[in-house]
């Protein structure tokens, strides 16, 4: 007769496990590390580590004249270069009291919105991979981004580091067929958005992975200083384009997209809808585009600003991209601070992740659409 197995008298001892994610991890969108403390499948704590890409962009800008700094903006925010350049040149223009010609402003607006489109396509592709819509979404997203990127290359001569905006206007005139090309790109983008929307938003598995995950309330989102689609997904209608209009955003008609739940799905879907709004804005800009000068009549060879300070902020695809420029007079900034949207958005990661599942950590991080070069500067 066999004995029954003895009853264990001791209780199970469990211990928290530390899981190190990154810095070399495909889903960290650059070089980002987070240490997850997990209890079974549940995340109990998150410690993010940034700074792997820190190159001292601010310090470098303080040693260069105003024109040279433009190139550095491209290198901090490499997925929304035009938006980054815009913040910088606007800061210089405001201090130097330069008047930007009308045509240059409309072109800037078109390019910034196109850049928002291309950045959101990049997000949709990369996010698809994070969630597990392997390959397909990525290829769709990149196909459409490439079309926009081609247009940028035709205009600026560079695929990524445009350096096309100048304090006062633009570096050179856009090609003759600019308007037709933009309309072609828009047609393509509209089609692409529709397909991606069908592929992802309508996908039941995708929704199961994203709905109700990584929720952050409006109060928390404001308190953490998040901005852009991340903040709007929590239902806060804050959009600098509408709240403090720059360029000619007060002359075009567009909606500020907000979400209801502040979850991953809202952050994702907000971007799809925002991309459609961008198309709407660009179409209105094209209607208003007229021939004219693209730089002011009197532009000094060496730009100098009087002593003073300014904090310009623009609505970049990832949120508020701000430039705090302090001048003591002369041709270079005394202090230049880049306000990174992703840095503040990343701070809120803790609130979103704790209490969730390990498998969702990647999805939540992906939904913030981080660019580590911008975080680390």
């Amino acid at each position: 007769m066999t004995q029954p197995p003895p009853v264990l008298e001791n209780e199970f001892e469990t211990e928290d496990i530390f899981v190190n994610m990154g810095p070399q991890h495909p889903s960290t969108h650059g070089v980002f590390r987070m240490v997850l403390t997990i209890d079974g499948e549940l995340i109990t704590d998150v410690t993010p580590y940034v700074g792997y890409m820190h190159r001292g962009a601010e310090k470098l800008c303080e040693t260069m004249d105003y024109r040279q700094g433009i190139g550095y903006m491209d290198r901090t925010e490499y997925l929304a270069n035009f938006n980054a350049e815009l913040s910088y040149v606007m800061a210089v223009e405001r201090l130097a009291e330069l008047e930007v010609p009308e045509r240059a402003t409309w072109i800037r607006m078109i390019l910034c919105e196109l850049n928002r489109l291309s950045s959101h396509f990049m997000f949709l592709g990369a996010f698809g991979t994070d969630v597990g819509v392997f390959g397909t979404a990525f290829v769709y997203g990149f196909r459409n981004r490439e079309v926009i990127q081609d247009l940028f290359e035709e205009i600026t001569g560079d695929r990524l580091m445009f350096a096309y905006f100048r304090a006062g206007g633009l570096a050179w005139e856009v090609p003759d067929n600019f308007e037709t090309r933009v309309r072609e790109v828009l047609k393509d983008s509209r089609e692409g958005l529709r397909e991606l929307d069908g592929l992802m938003t309508q996908n039941e598995i995708f929704r199961a992975r994203t709905e109700g995950v990584g929720v952050i309330t409006a109060e928390d989102a404001i308190d953490w200083g998040t901005s852009g689609p991340t903040l709007r997904a929590s239902g806060v209608p804050m959009d600098i384009r509408r709240d403090e209009p720059y360029l000619f955003y007060d002359q075009v008609d567009f909606d500020v997209i907000t979400g209801d739940h502040g979850d991953v799905f809202d952050r994702f879907y907000g971007r799809i809808r925002e991309a459609s709004e961008s198309i709407k804005i660009i179409e209105q800009c094209l209607e208003r585009l007229e021939p004219g000068p693209i730089v002011p009549d009197r532009l000094p060879r060496m730009l100098r600003t009087p002593a003073g300070e300014v904090y310009t902020r623009t609505e970049a695809p990832r949120g508020e991209y701000g430039i705090y420029l302090v001048s003591k007079g002369g041709n270079r900034p005394h202090r230049l601070k880049i306000r990174s949207a992703c840095l503040s958005n990343l701070q809120a990661l803790r609130d979103m992740t704790i209490g969730g599942y390990v498998a969702d950590a990647v999805v939540i991080l992906g939904s913030l659409d981080i660019v580590l070069c911008e975080v680390d500067r």
Binding site: V50, G51, H54, G56, E58, K59, L60, T63, R94, L95, I222, D223, W224, G225, V236, M238, D243, E244, P306, A307, G308, E309, V310, Y311, T312, R313, E320, G322, Y324, V326, K328, G329, H334, R335, K337, R339, L343, S344, L346, Q347, D376, R377
Partner: protein, 179 residues
């Protein structure tokens, strides 16, 4: 602290700004206004800063609930200014708050008790300028290596590495360019 003084009497030129409301809210706190190129700037002395920030956040008509940006400016021998850019999501107005620190006492109370957004921004300011934020819940360096605690890269006395010149021809040119 800028090198220029505002023209004329400060109170006259600030009529179109939110200075009236800020002044009323900050009753009992020393606040010094100045017109910036874009936003109103208010100087608050170190001892009253946290109280001032808290008032600015909670006051009804101002409700600065959003900390846009936090950084510092090195004025070399004149000390360091810590700068707060505030925004109200409700009223959509902006305010810049500055606090001057002398070089021999670079400590300041943390603003994380007012906005959690200050957390990483203060960590960055601390490592870059050597300002110590008292009571910060997590005072580790943010961007710099952990052992780099004896030098503050964004101070003006911190040198930038020299550009490497590999060819003899370039030496004269490089020296000229960086003079």
């Amino acid at each position: 602290m800028t090198t220029d003084e505002p023209n004329g009497s400060a109170a006259d030129s600030l009529d179109d700004t939110i200075w009236g409301a800020v002044d009323a809210a900050l009753a009992g706190i020393t606040a010094d206004p100045e017109r910036g190129a874009q936003d109103l700037i208010v100087f608050i002395p170190k001892g009253e800063l946290t109280r001032g920030l808290r008032v600015l956040k909670s006051s009804e008509g101002l409700s600065f609930d959003y900390l846009r940006n936090l950084t510092a400016i090195d004025w070399e021998e004149e000390g360091i200014d810590v700068v707060y850019h505030l925004y109200s999501t409700e009223h959509r107005h902006n305010l810049t708050v500055k606090c001057h620190l002398d070089n021999d006492d670079l400590t300041l109370d943390t603003a994380t008790t007012v906005w959690r957004a200050a957390g990483w921004l203060e960590r960055e300011t601390a490592e870059m300028f050597g300002v110590r934020f008292e009571g910060h819940p997590d005072p580790r360096p943010l961007l710099l290596p952990e052992d780099m605690d004896d030098t503050f890269p964004l101070r003006k006395d911190h040198p930038l590495a020299e550009i490497e010149v590999l060819q003899g021809e370039g030496i004269a040119y490089a020296e000229e360019a960086f003079e």
